[in-house]
Amino acid sequence: MAPRFYRLAETGRKVVNLTLDGQPVAALEGDTLMVALLSAHGHLRRSEFGDGTRAGFCLMGACQDCWVWTEDGERLRSCSTAVSDGLNIRTNPPEVSWSDVL
């Protein structure tokens, strides 16, 4: 799928490597997770109410539309989370049981 966001400047930054649903994504240091993912991909998650894909809305931590999940099941608000090397992100929440959490 075509990326959703396009970089207009500040492209000389250090590369940070992430994984999105098992695929490698090259982000740049200083990116928010949302910008990193949407510069490579068309959406962040699927609406659990059946109306398709979602890619965030407000970018200021108010709408909660930009949630993604780590492999451990931790939910991240991607517009206000900075990227870090080795982050392993899923566009669907993993099934996690209480014993997994402990």
């Binding site: 959703r4 207009l8 500040e10 200083g30 068309g42 979602r54 709408c63 909660q64 959490v101």
Partner: protein
Amino acid sequence: MVGRALNTLKVVIIGAGPAGVRAAQTLVAAGVRPTVIDEGRRAGGQIYRRQPDNFTRSLETLYGTEASRAQGIHDTFDGLVDQIDYLPETLVWNISDGRVFAVSEKRETTIEYDALIICSGATDRLMPVKGWDMAGVYSLGGSQVALKSQAVSIGQRVIFMGTGPLLYLVASQYLKAGAGVVAVLDTSSFIKRVVAAPKLMSAPDALINGLKFTLALKAAGVPVLTGIRPLEITGDVESGVSGLIFETGAGEHREIKGDAVAMGYHLRPETQLADLTRCEFAFDEKSHLWYPKVDEDGRATTANVYLAGDGARILGARAAEVSGKLAALACLKDAGAPVLDNEIMALRQDMACWKRFATGLREAFPWPAEQAAKLPDETVVCRCEAITAGELRRTVNAMGAKEANRAKAFSRVGMGRCQGRYCALAGAEIIAAAAGIPVSEAGRLRGQAPVKPLPICIEDDEAAAAISTVRELTK
């Protein structure tokens, strides 16, 4: 709090945008050491939001004509950091019994206060349109954040739609940054701007900047249309936005293509925290907004609570600086500190000027309340849970819910994870139109704690120790 030595006075400021920064500066100058709690990673608020440290664009590139104001706020705050208790990346999620409940990095803190200055700012005000729940539709403010703080465009061919000064500002910023701007579609008619011109002259430089943005867009060949009505954002639920169908001022239907829509209808105040202090609200007939009641200097109806910036009244960033100072002076005065009446009078005069300018903006770029009644039943109103206008109307017509909180309980519009920030105002218009009552009678959604979703794994020290012990044992 009267009679307390100023250096022992516990003042908590929530928000480090222009209002919060000026409030903190005013308190520090009087010998108070305030606590400043801010959800942002760095101070500046949304308007003067800073880019990450390793970005190199100039202040002029980021903030245009407001570069020196942005620098003024940033430098002031950086100079205060040693004289305040600063809690960045910290969310205040509840206020109760003279205490602020905050969470940061999954850790909880509770802070007692003698006085509270809430500078919670604003978010975009939205009117739904069919298809606005698709990927690729962003709020205008969000589109600006993408460019300002991350140097990205929300698409290759962006359609700007809505009304208000931000519409022209963000579109022109995108154009200047080299992004593709397909069109600027304004729901307000041009004649309203002409009629509002005398009031807009209260801030001539701001008026001239606005005209310059429009001229720059037109000079670049970007269609700028006024008096339009959006009918549908087109696209595919999998791949997202592909265009917009709208009605022109002359009543023709037109479709334009684009891969992103930036939309917004000016701003709405963030008032949940003020609401949790149980202060009174009043409906403003002119803007169709509920505002917390404040006196001339920002005192809320709850004792020792002060409100400043766009969270108190949508008056813009420059007024936020003035109201931040005023609220801090009111707080100092109430604490028995010597405050010069002349200083307060001068600030009140500044505020009167900004109020006049804001009235001009409101009249030039009115909230299109009449669109609510015309939204097709299948239009999603609540983006969080994909609840349609038809479902909301059904709760009014079939279940008799004519009050916003009751309609919320039945329909879930306003109950999703944004907690009504993006649907409540339009939802109230839909309820009022369906019930045939004024929107003021539909009421407003009550603020609820937590004001934003919290991670379920918030830990205190004991719990953290217990979990690590269990982890060790189960290895």
